[in-house]
């Protein structure tokens, strides 16, 4: 590969305005992508090439993840761009930029029947599987919810699987359900009441302490 004229943002496939979360996320993906024996690069890049790319990724991340170094780098980037604009075009370094997307052709003129499914379950009951379906529709993974809410992933998973025996006492569970519901943009009150009713009914079954 000789097209390595890319800037640090391009190395991590980021836009200049990327947030620090964007940078962390891009870095995590890049590390997984270009590790030795990676499935994603199989048959295209050799381990040596992966190592070379990974090295550039580490360098880019070292700068972009450090606020002070990033500010300095951004300033240099701006200066470079400004001077490039004033230079004669032939002096501009050749860059392989990603193609700009052309305007999409117009969408078909059919009535747009929605594929949106309501998040509220038909029977109004928010049990574990109903919550799970909403989560999957929203494309959120359990570990993301866990990171956001600080609720242990095993608890979230027990909620989704209606494994009441693995769930903590009522007050804690209530708190978990509220946070879980918020992440899914559901009504926390409706979810908590619905789920707690199931939990309590289970708890009161004959033969239970």
């Amino acid at each position: 590969m000789n097209a390595t004229d890319t800037n640090l943002y391009e190395v991590l496939e980021l836009i200049d305005a990327a947030t620090s979360q964007d940078i962390d996320r891009a870095y995590r993906i890049a590390r997984a992508t270009y590790q030795p024996a990676s499935t994603a690069t199989y048959s295209l890049f050799s381990d040596d090439e992966n190592a070379e790319i990974l090295q550039r990724i580490e360098e880019a991340y070292a700068v972009l993840s450090d606020p002070r170094m990033r500010r300095e780098y951004d300033a240099r980037l701006r200066r470079d761009r400004a001077s490039r604009h004033t230079a004669p075009p032939s002096a501009a370094p050749k860059m392989v930029a990603l193609p700009v997307r052309e305007n999409e052709p117009p969408a078909p003129s059919v009535p747009d029947y929605s594929l949106d499914e309501p998040d509220e379950p038909d029977d109004g009951v928010y049990d574990g599987p109903a919550l799970r379906r909403v989560r999957i529709r929203h494309g959120i993974e359990l570990d993301e919810i866990s990171a956001r809410t600080k609720i242990n992933e095993s608890h979230l998973s027990a909620i989704e699987q209606n494994r009441y025996d693995h769930l903590p006492a009522g007050v804690y569970l209530r708190g978990f359900l509220r946070e879980f519901a918020k992440c899914l943009k559901l009504d926390p009150k409706a979810v908590t009441e619905s789920y707690m009713a199931l939990f309590i009914a289970h708890d009161r079954r004959p033969g239970r302490a």
């Binding site: 000789n2 097209a3 048959s43 295209l44 990603l98 193609p99 999409e104 594929l115 999957i136 993974e141």
Partner: protein
């Protein structure tokens, strides 16, 4: 298929009412779920109220009819149209048990679409637009013969299916590479850089062009005037990725990795459309000969499929 006759075929006013969108579903390797996804994407779109036409372009191993529980058919099929036994593609379109969804079968054990010309394939895609469907979906064969590549390139949207296994990834990349060069070779056939593209297709070329990214850089260097055209061509090639048979979180993320590799290696912007989990209900639905989204609409995989269709239909 007689090209001239097809070109002059009049389209009924009713059919002309709606400009159809045409999608192709491919992936290079067999057995990775292209037909499963094609059938379920088609069924989902039909159930959302669209008129959908599904075309089994896998003439060697056509089996989409089975996914809908339709018996082996004796009626006209795609090969009959290609080989000029029927003049009207519409005659090969058959109702499926799903309202709003029609199927054009391939023929089992047939030689294939490989011996058609580029022009004939373009004509077939054009003809499929005129049958009154809102959405036409081509289910492609495994392998990368020219016909399959052309369908992948000539349709409005192309979906690349891969599973999280090295063999499937390898084939997906070869498939992308072959389509990419075919697109360039065809689009730049009257351009001064035509020979450069041809040279680059040989992995051991003397210029040291190994990746499409290298080729683009070389063209920018040697023929800046041709580069604009090239950029346009590349930006019109936007395959979208679906990872099928995903078993864990790592495999979900593989889609993002493939996206990154496509950008670095091909200079292509490949959107990661979504994934479908590995699910026993998939083979159960196939055994029952009903699409998963109909048989098990509440299953995880059915939800994933609906998400994919939703994204595909976004303007």
């Amino acid at each position: 298929m007689n090209v001239r006759r097809r070109a002059t075929r009049t389209v009924t006013p009713e059919a002309a009412r709606l400009p159809a969108r045409v999608w192709a579903i491919g992936g290079g390797k067999g057995g990775i779920g292209k037909s499963f996804i094609a059938a379920n994407v088609a069924a989902t779109a039909a159930r959302s109220g669209r008129q959908v036409l599904l075309i089994d372009a896998d003439l060697g191993g056509a089996n989409l009819h089975t996914c809908f529980g339709m018996p082996a058919g004796r009626g006209p099929n795609l090969s009959d149209f290609i080989e000029d036994r029927i003049q009207d593609l519409d005659k090969a379109a058959e109702e499926t048990p799903i309202p709003g969804l029609r199927l054009i079968r391939g023929a089992l054990g047939h030689a294939g679409t490989a011996d058609t010309s580029h022009e004939q394939r373009t004509q077939l895609v054009q003809a499929s637009r005129g049958l009154g469907a809102d959405l036409v979906i081509f289910d492609l064969a495994a392998g990368m013969d020219r016909a399959t590549l052309d369908f992948f390139l000539e349709t409005d949207e192309s979906m690349l299916v891969a599973t999280p296994e090295p063999t499937s990834i390898e084939n997906a990349y070869s498939f992308l590479r072959a389509s990419f060069y075919r697109k360039l070779a065809h689009g730049l056939r009257d351009s001064p850089v035509r020979d450069l593209v041809r040279e680059a297709m040989d992995q051991r070329n003397e210029r040291g062009i190994r990746t499409p990214t290298d080729l683009i850089a070389e063209i920018e260097r040697l023929e800046p005037a041709a580069a604009e055209n090239l950029r346009k061509l590349i930006s019109s090639f936007r395959p979208r990725l679906v990872v099928n048979q995903v078993r864990n979180r790592e495999e979900v993320k593989l889609g993002f990795s493939i996206r990154s590799v496509c950008r670095k290696y091909f200079g292509l912007d490949v959107e990661y459309l979504g994934y479908v989990s590995y699910d026993d209900l998939v083979w159960r639905s196939i055994k029952e000969r009903r699409p998963l989204v109909v048989a098990y609409p509440q299953s995880d995989s059915a939800i994933y499929i609906r998400q994919i269709v939703k994204k595909m239909l976004q303007p």
